[in-house]
């Protein structure tokens, strides 16, 4: 994993939850930042790509590592 990837550890986060944590990160970090969201909620593998598409960012990968869903997103604007 590249050093510049920012981990958003949303495991066991019911509220605000992994997507809201990603939105927080995207709001506060510069364009070009790559985030990797860790989530224990299967819904994240669907919700996060949907928001990324609507918000105009780039979905880099969407994988499952054991019980953890790992979704990489690049901030584009």
């Amino acid at each position: 994993m590249a050093d510049s990837v920012k981990i958003v550890d949303g495991r066991n986060s019911f509220c605000p939850g992994p997507l809201m944590e990603l939105i927080k990160g995207i709001r506060q970090e510069p364009v070009g930042t790559v985030f990797e969201v860790w989530s224990s909620d299967a819904g994240s593998a669907k919700d996060i790509p949907e928001w990324v598409r609507r918000a105009g960012h780039e979905l880099i990968s969407n994988t499952q590592d054991g019980d953890v869903f790992k979704i990489q997103v690049k901030k584009l604007k």
Binding site: V8, D9, G10, N12, S13, F14, C15, P16, G17, P18, L19, M20, E21, I23, K24, R27, Q28, E29, G43, D47, E50, W51, R54, A55, G56
Partner: protein
């Protein structure tokens, strides 16, 4: 021991440690100091009721000194930064407060300025000033389209639902129900971050004819044309705009270089120690933890921090762990409420709203002062 912040979490830690270590405090072998920027302790949930003219500002405030144990020292002033090398809190007046253990309980602040045009075009109920301005706007309101928008991150995650449902009931009671359209927006793909709460609230919104727009993150407000545009590209018209604004960590965290880009302090989710530090604990809104920013979170975290500090001061290892517990009342109108409780492993299960829970919430609003005192 120094506690930076005189909100609910910081005050609980001070009082619980002082009560359990009062002999040491009396002998002078232990000192507990709370640094706060205000002589007044504010119970912020009252601002929701203030906006609807159900309480007045004085009901949300009491002197912090009166809530603190008599052996706890209180310093009123602004902290400039924390010097980790010198183990001191440096105040803006140049004085320093040394510590062996530091508790960061600085909370968060609403940052409506992060959404262009929002301070001029919208209302909020997260400050006394904002709630009073909204109270006047609601008093003068004669009907129209009310848009409720939600920034990220924000504290009190049930507040968007509570305000919306209370507004609906308040408008009906005022005879403006038929003249008003309520539009609720939310940043993610359902109407609340907690899935069980979203599932409960969706049919309630349908029944009450509250329109909802999901995946709506406020980006820009045009106060002149009364529109709000999301970063997802959707634009809505409004007559009255009410925001749960985005929040940020406090500037003292940024000046101390202890936080991330949002001035949230990296914190271990179980030990509540600042990451990379053995002598600094963090609680409440100030942490970067992926849990609700709420008074109850600060309360339950404060119980853990106080227990660990008492353990460490008595030669223990300070190994009590926080399990992620959160508790929230949810007002569902003007006469009923429900509640949720959850932790890192167990999701909430909202129950059917009742008058009894609403009355309990009303009673707790008066009993609150026992919480910072460390008694409830």
């Amino acid at each position: 021991m120094v506690i930076l912040g005189g909100g609910v979490g910081g005050t609980i830690v001070a009082n619980q440690v002082a009560r359990q270590m009062s002999d040491d405090l009396k002998k002078g072998t232990l000192g507990v100091t709370v640094i706060t920027d205000s002589e007044q302790h504010v119970y912020q949930p009252m601002f929701l009721y203030l906006a609807f003219d159900q309480v007045v500002p004085s009901e949300a405030k009491k002197p912090e000194r009166g809530l603190l144990h008599r052996y706890v020292k209180m310093v009123v002033g602004a902290a400039d930064h924390v010097d980790q090398d010198q183990k001191t809190v440096v105040m803006t007046d140049g004085t320093s407060v040394p510590y062996d253990y530091l508790v960061i309980a600085t909370g968060s602040r609403p940052a409506p300025e992060q959404v262009a045009g929002l301070p001029e075009g919208g209302h909020l109920f997260y400050t006394e000033e904002g709630a009073l301005r909204l109270r006047q706007a609601l008093h003068d309101f004669e009907g129209g389209r009310v848009v409720i928008t939600v920034g990220v991150p924000h504290k009190c995650p049930v507040a968007p639902l509570e305000f919306t449902l209370m507004l609906k009931a308040w408008l009906e009671a005022k005879g403006l129900g038929q003249k008003t359209e309520i539009v609720y927006t939310y940043p993610i793909g359902r109407i609340h971050s907690l899935e069980p709460v979203a599932q409960w609230a969706a049919p309630v919104f349908d029944d009450q004819k509250i329109e909802s727009h999901i995946f709506f993150n406020p980006e820009q407000v045009d106060p002149e044309h009364k529109t709000i545009t999301s970063l997802e590209g959707e634009t809505l018209d409004y007559d009255l705009l009410v925001a749960v604004p985005p929040h940020t960590g406090q500037d003292v965290i940024g000046r101390s270089k202890l936080g991330d880009a949002g001035q949230w302090v990296p914190t271990d989710r179980a030990s509540l120690r600042m990451k990379g530090s053995d002598d600094i604990f963090v609680l409440g809104d100030a942490t970067d933890l992926p849990i609700s920013k709420a008074g109850s979170t600060a309360h339950f975290e404060a119980d853990v921090v106080a227990a660990n500090l008492v353990s460490l001061l008595n030669g223990g290892l300070g190994s009590v762990r926080y399990d992620g517990k959160v508790f929230c009342f949810i007002e569902t109108g003007l006469t009923k409420a429900t509640y949720i409780t959850f932790d890192y492993l167990n999701p909430p299960k909202p129950s059917e709203p009742t008058e009894m829970i609403h009355m309990f919430k009303m009673a707790y609003n008066r009993l609150y002062w026992l919480t910072p005192a460390g008694l409830l």
